[in-house]
Subunit: 198 residues, 2 copies
DNA sequence: CCTTCACTGAACACAATGTTGATTTGATAA
DNA sequence: TTATCAAATCAACATTGTGTTCAGTGAAGG
């Protein structure tokens, strides 16, 4: 029984791998089930035993990544992060978030990069926004305004994601995971200084 | 020299309108030339007298919007903006940028929203990044580092765009153009304070 | 009145889709 | 060993969208 499940699993993995490859090469739009079956070296009919269509593959991949990412984002506490960074140290929970993205760099690059998948960026923003900013709201009364909080979440989450996208687009070998974490705080500090001075 | 040099302007407009509508409803992927011709109330063959395929329509729309947007973004000078806002006034050039987006809200919502067009977000970030941050680099030596500047551009441009996306997603009737401009500076100030205090 | 030209309508070959039914493969368990 | 059964194969099918072609229509204006 377990072997049957494993064969099943490997075929699905082959389809996903072929999918990532094809989206990177030609964009989601130009992916066809026919080509997927060809590169995954399976029969076209077999594809339909695993997925209903290419959207189904996309959703499967997104779920997989978002669930794992959320596991790490959960442990980020902005207040602790600021304090840790002020002492010149790297904040471990955030390191794990960036490391998770680096580990799955090809998939994240596909979903966030030039051939981005509609909606995935939004989903990532929501994860970042919900977890990181729920805790920041304790800090200041201004965030109690739900509308302001909503825009603040969009603001911060987009900024962080923008830096990650830039990192992935550049091939993500330019900066190590630790340098990326340091960069985020350097950017925040820089912005804080500019605002304070002007 | 094509037989059909002068073509009806209104037909192209009808195609674009149908295109925006269909992307909003079903996403770019599910747009078909057949359905476009149907909703634009033209013959399917007529479509091909104007555009080569649906990608062609998309590019036309993007060009149109990006060119107009850039006209306004050009005049934004961050140093002036900060000073104007410190005096409790609204910075006019930025108002014009937001007003431009509001004017073409359906199109921008289509290209930036849930069914976002791959690549359009990046193009907007580049416009924001190039124009707004070229001038900020005079302010501080830290920005002289080209790598830091690149990430700073991604950081700020993504943040601004994130707020605009949120605004559009909510139906963009919640806040007026002026309130949006004020919100951006409120967000910046808030972030500056949090960073300074921690 | 007749030309021009954007658009129509119908037909074409082609490609991908999603489904079906009959068949092969290979690991497991009696 | 052999029967079993899930997984994958193969071929065929109707359907839908594509991009192109070409003869024809009707309104504007020279």
């Amino acid at each position: 029984m377990s072997v049957h499940e494993k064969m099943n699993f490997e075929t699905k993995q082959a389809i996903k791998k072929a999918f990532i490859q094809q989206v990177e090469e030609e964009g989601f739009e130009r992916v066809t089930v026919k080509k997927l079956a060809l590169t995954a070296q399976i029969n076209r009919g077999t594809f339909y035993l695993h997925y209903s269509d290419k959207y189904d593959v996309m959703e499967d991949l997104q779920q997989e990544l978002l669930m794992e990412l959320e596991r790490y984002v959960k442990h980020v506490q902005p207040v602790d992060a600021f304090q840790t960074m002020k002492m010149g140290q790297l904040y471990q929970p955030f390191i794990k978030v960036i490391a998770c993205i680096k580990e799955h760099a090809p998939a994240f690059r596909m979903l966030l990069g030039e051939q981005e998948s509609p909606g995935f960026t939004q989903k990532m923003k929501i994860i970042f926004g919900n977890h990181i900013l729920d805790r920041l709201s304790v800090l200041r009364e201004e965030v109690q305004d739900p509308e302001f909080q909503q825009y603040l979440q969009a603001f911060i989450a987009s900024a962080i994601l923008g830096v990650i996208q830039e990192w992935l687009d550049k091939g993500n070998e330019n900066l190590t995971v630790e340098e990326m974490v340091a960069l985020h705080f350097r950017l925040l500090r820089f912005l804080g200084n500019v605002v304070a001075d002007s």
